[in-house]
Subunit: 409 residues, 2 copies
């Protein structure tokens, strides 16, 4: 938790009401030498369905492997999130820690260990201390319920603000609510998306349908953000549906209310994803990059990510420099179909290049004015086909170097 | 040309003797508002063979396209290098500038325009001014021959030191020499490699054989370096063989002396490539990354480059922080076969992780001492197969941000 709030943080942080069937509590496990809550313990009513997406890293944490196994069963009774230690790359001792947390929680709640989902975030390579985890769990179990903002604060590491979002839908005449919390600031790049995110809804949703809706939302939101092109070993987004709203359970896209729920879930994921970029390490500007006219949506996404991950593009934006040549460079290196002499580039509303060269009589003034703002848009039209994609990133500043040249020490 | 020399620069810069059949001259074309030589004009004796490798960017400069066409013929009489303006993404006006330079040079030398090779480096998107290029060429043609160091200085942009290398071989009893000059500091990442490099030898070498030897050397040298993962639109390495040494022309790997020449060319390319990394923008440390035990050499290369391009690994090295968890992260995100529990990681000579976790009783002191040095080695053993690769990069520091947040202005 940094003391300096990101300049891109929302003016106010949402304080959503509780979700029926969900109770969050927090405690001090003291995984690091700090005096803050770092263990989040969420209990879920019986009958809660769960879905999840996890990192594509070839070196995932034992928490990720645990969640993947548990997701197969589709039901959940608890979520435990540890902050300050990711427990990744810790061999048998790391696996033992996850098993111990699940066992202790199952004992408290009288459920199966496989009903318990575990996620951890922080330094890699240090086994999570089982004694601290168990003591923290016991303390949380005895604690009063906490607010969403408190839970969101407790899962933070290098984040500078708590990230909460809310969305609404109607299913079969019943109003349902969705609330999400998320953490993430560095080591942010897709394959899924690089952070821990947790979504709770009182809707009744079949686990398989929840999984397909979450996977679809993920592709357009979490998988479209990047801070630094580095993908974490611990990325996890879980969605829990308690069913307390009493709607007829959603099981297919044809069901009444399915569209409303899917749209709300997607909106919620987008709000969470954008908050992660707004808290990108060292970020001073949010950058939205849209690529049109690609041969396919996939190709557009690859090119947009090539621009979003280019250190030279990101430092140019940090310097408020309309250096569109670096955008050309990033398109060129993406390896996807592109024809130099059809390429058009826009900064904000201003066309800067077209048909492979600077536009005639290009006036840099409106572009310079746009670049002085906090929200920058870059548009690229490849002129080849119908493929399109939009992704979000932040600029690359001295702040990123300062944060990461001595994070662990 | 920066005033602050990279701390990784070699203590002394080589001053090789001339190569028979090659004459370099320099002039002030004044492509930017500076008072330095920025045009290099190299004439080559009749009968000179040429080979080249160029950027894989989908948006190459007109110079790259010109060189690709001319390379098909395999012969060269001149090389013109412009610094301060890359002429990339400038449409017909850029193409016209390259054609004008080739025509003017051909007129001076009485050769075909296709015997003239042109390369330009600098800002993207501004057409190279033909009048300045022609005046510069005329001035260079009338000038006294210059040294290799003067030529190497004249092709520089953000480089902080002139980069020259020399190698020797014996072919059929004749001693032959190779000299190379190179520029590059930012926008450095392979597909070929991101810079302009020029190699000259007095050996007689058939153009096709020179091409295959250069391509092979490139794969192990220029394609194994990265400063910032950004690939330029203008990357070009050309090798010129004048034949003045009088050796029986090399035409195949079976020829006497072919091994010696190929080894010398590879050694020269390696020396040039490493100088580029040593002048990486903002670099304070040279990092050598070796990956062993991969499923294939290609797979090892992809993983090594994933580590070398990771901002989190590079900032950790900048901060002299033995944060090997970030190496695990970079292996995991590469998308290549890797098994977490077989992975071993070494910093300098010290094994820090093995079989998927920190080594028992790991002592950070020797690693901390190694990280205080200027030359850092990271070794990764995947424990899967025989594939291996070594790549070179530099750390990511505040200097990189400072240089690139206002390069163009």
């Amino acid at each position: 938790m940094s003391s300096t709030r990101s300049p891109l943080a929302p003016a106010t942080i949402l304080e959503p009401a509780a979700i029926a069937g969900v109770t969050a509590r927090i405690a001090r496990a003291r995984y690091k030498a700090w005096d803050r809550c770092d263990l989040t313990f969420v209990t879920l009513d019986e009958g809660t369905a769960v879905a999840g997406v996890t990192t594509q890293s070839r070196c995932p944490s034992p928490e990720v492997e645990w969640c993947r196994s548990a997701l197969v069963l589709g039901r959940a009774r608890a979520l435990v999130v540890n902050a300050g230690n990711s427990n990744a790359f810790t061999g048998n001792r790391g696996r033992a820690a996850v098993e111990a947390i699940a066992a202790r929680t199952a004992q408290h709640l009288g459920c199966a260990p496989s009903d318990v989902f575990v996620a951890s975030t922080g330094v890699i390579g240090v086994p999570l201390p089982i004694d601290k985890a168990e003591a923290g769990l016991d303390a949380a179990y005895a604690a009063q319920p906490c607010s969403w903002v408190e839970a969101a604060e407790t899962i933070m590491t290098t984040d500078t603000f708590a990230k909460v979002a809310e969305a609404h839908a109607a299913i079969g005449g019943r109003a349902v609510r969705l609330v999400g919390i998320i953490k993430g600031s560095g080591m942010i790049a897709p394959d899924m998306a690089t952070m821990l995110g947790f979504i709770f809804t009182d809707a009744a949703v079949d686990a398989a349908f929840l999984q397909s809706a979450l996977a679809a939302a993920n592709r357009r939101t979490f998988s479209c953000i990047t801070v630094d092109s580095d993908t974490s070993t611990s990325d996890t987004v879980l969605a829990f549906a308690t069913g307390a709203a009493g709607n007829p359970p959603l099981a297919s896209t044809d069901d009444d209310g399915a569209d409303s729920f899917v749209a709300a879930l997607s909106e919620l994921c987008m709000a969470l994803a954008q908050q992660v970029v707004r808290d990108g390490e060292g970020a001073s500007k949010l950058i939205e990059i849209t690529v049109d006219g690609a041969e396919s949506d996939r190709s557009a996404h690859v090119i947009a990510m090539s621009i979003a991950n280019s250190p030279l593009v990101k430092t140019a934006i940090a310097g408020e420099d309309a250096n569109w040549g670096r955008v050309v460079m990033a398109v060129g290196k993406a390896g996807e179909p592109a024809e130099r002499d059809r390429l058009a580039i826009r900064f904000g509303a201003t066309q800067v290049a077209k048909d492979g060269l600077a536009v005639e009589g290009y006036d840099e003034a409106p572009v310079a004015a746009h670049l002085k703002g906090q929200e920058i848009t870059i548009g690229v039209d490849l002129g080849l086909g119908e493929g399109k994609a939009t992704v979000w990133t932040c600029d690359l500043t001295h702040g990123y170097i300062s944060i990461n040249a001595d994070y662990r020490s």
